[in-house]
Amino acid sequence: MSSGASPETARTTPSSAGVKRLLARTLRHLSRAALGALGVLLVTFTLIHLIPGDPVEILLGDAATEELVAKYRQILGLEGSLPQQFARYLASVAQGDLGTSIQTGQSVNSVVARTLPMTAWLIGVTVLMALLMALPLGVAAALLRGTWFDHAFRVATSVSLATPSFYFGLLLILLFAVRLGWAPVAGYQPGFPGNLQYLWLPALTMSGALVPILARVLQSSIAETMEQEFVETAIVRGLPAPVLVWRYLLRPSLAPTISLLGYILGQLLSATVVVEIVFNLPGMGTALVVEGVLLRDYPVVQGIILIFALIVVAVSFLSDTVSGWLDPRTRLS
């Protein structure tokens, strides 16, 4: 442990052994991410085989002719043995082909391309909004540990986490859109900055689940940082408060939050599905439910959940890597 060292001195003297260790770590994370992606593909591939009975028969019913059956088998990738099917699935995904919708005949790629930007905007605005709320809350809760504020913080975050986002969203619509008229009730127009008008209320709804997680992680990691000797040293040195809070409290405390990004993104993507439906936003979540699940369009379901999971795997890899860079102490020990 090098807990006594100031974060500055640790950063300015990177030993070559430290850099090597960092590279080895990154490689290990990368191989783990590749394996994770393979596992994710195995799950999405297995999904279609969970259908009780023959999916083609279920889809076609009495309309089944030999020709149609053969065509649907081909679209669903159900020709040949299981290993052959999986190999074909891997090959097509590797070439960037997510399959074809059985309801509309569109490529799943085009469904993703049409809906991904809106979902990305929603998540981006949510993260920004949630950080703006969670940072001061987390810092305050850590500094005021054991006071009434801390207790109120704990209860409020528990309540917020336990409130279903679709209910919270409806209440926000009732208050901000219907009563106050500050936002449209539902719908979306692409194009920055006009789209923010449609996004801020859904983003606020999603923040209801995100802020408690972020603020709690921040609170506990800041509380841990405060016990470090370098913080005491900084206080004794009489540094101005902003420098103290940012460089000596927040920066060393951000690593745990960043290493949780993969988990947090998973939570956000789950929330997107529900919130997009509540606010009638044409994103990936709406596509998954309306075009995929409710219409039983298996390739659309497979394709969209694959993208969701791959995003989580990629972000987990990035956050593991970045949190290693951000906190120099992980390079030393």
Binding site: G39, S158, F166, Y167, L269, V312
Partner: protein, 276 residues
């Protein structure tokens, strides 16, 4: 290594008591609703869209069904679904995880771990809804979806716990005593692993009850006309501006339940989700 029987409510503080009271109230009302209310939860029993009060404490919905009766009939279904959706994966996942944490067969353990990590990589609601899409909506589909996804999280927790326990002194001692590996697993490792996953199970109950109602809200869960909180909220959405009671009462019941369990979980385990 201290052995902590964590699931015993050793530290029943104020938040745990408040949580327990809320949960108890919802359970009692849900169980007793056939005695408390003369109405059928799925049949029209009054004028449509009647305001709360008088004959109908919570009002009636667009089909003239009594919202009070439906809210607590839904409570029974949601609580049972969440209970099964937590306990089945808890039992299976913990056992599997403990076995994986103690087995000497590296390859098998590695393959299982890959599957566990792959399932956990998916956003929870997203994978459950995808499985419901293929096996078909309804109570059975919902339970299959929850079980198929949720076991992996318990297995992950149980495995890391078992890995630590494997090297604990008291397990070391059983080896010296020459106990069989099965006996060590069942009598010494599993009880300690279960106390860990049961503590997690309480906060997981919140996630599962919210997932059940979210899926029904989206139309991919419990089928109408069966009363279910999420489905009722979806029903009342169109009337939100004028007949708020159709949406607000089931929503309050759902939030109260989730908050009650969250407070209970928070108080009983003395720590909370998000904090390590």
């Amino acid at each position: 290594m201290k052995r902590r029987p964590r699931f015993l409510p050793v530290d029943l503080n104020r938040s745990a008591l408040v949580g327990a009271a809320i949960v108890l109230l919802v359970i009692v009302l849900s169980v007793l609703v056939p005695l408390l209310s003369p109405y059928d939860p799925v049949a029209a029993t009054g004028p449509a869209l009647a305001a709360p009060g008088g004959q109908h404490l919570f009002g009636t919905d667009q089909l003239g069904r009594d919202v009070f009766t439906r809210t607590f009939a839904a409570g029974r279904l949601d609580l049972i679904l969440a209970l099964v959706g937590v306990s089945a994966p808890l039992l299976v996942g913990t056992f599997l995880g403990a076995v994986l944490g103690t087995t000497r067969n590296r390859l098998v353990a590695w393959l299982w771990l890959m599957v566990i990590d792959a399932i956990n990589a998916f956003p929870f609601v997203v994978l459950v809804i995808a499985i419901v899409a293929v096996v078909g909506p309804g109570v059975t589909g919902l339970l299959i979806g929850l079980a198929a996804v949720n076991w992996a999280r318990y297995a992950r927790i149980a495995r890391s716990r078992a890995l630590i326990l494997r090297n604990a002194d008291f397990v070391e001692a059983t080896r010296v005593l020459g106990y069989s590996r099965l006996r060590v697993l069942v009598r010494h490792i599993l009880p300690n692993v279960y106390s860990e996953t049961i503590a997690y199970g309480l906060s997981d109950f919140v996630i599962v009850v919210l997932t059940v109602s979210s899926l029904s809200f989206l139309g991919a869960g419990v089928n109408p006309p069966t009363p279910e909180w999420g489905a009722m909220i979806a029903d009342g959405r169109l009337y939100l501006q004028t007949q708020w009671w159709i949406t607000v009462f089931p929503g309050l019941a759902l939030s109260f339940t989730a908050i009650g369990v969250a407070l209970l979980a928070h108080g009983v385990s003395g720590r909370y989700a998000g904090e390590k």
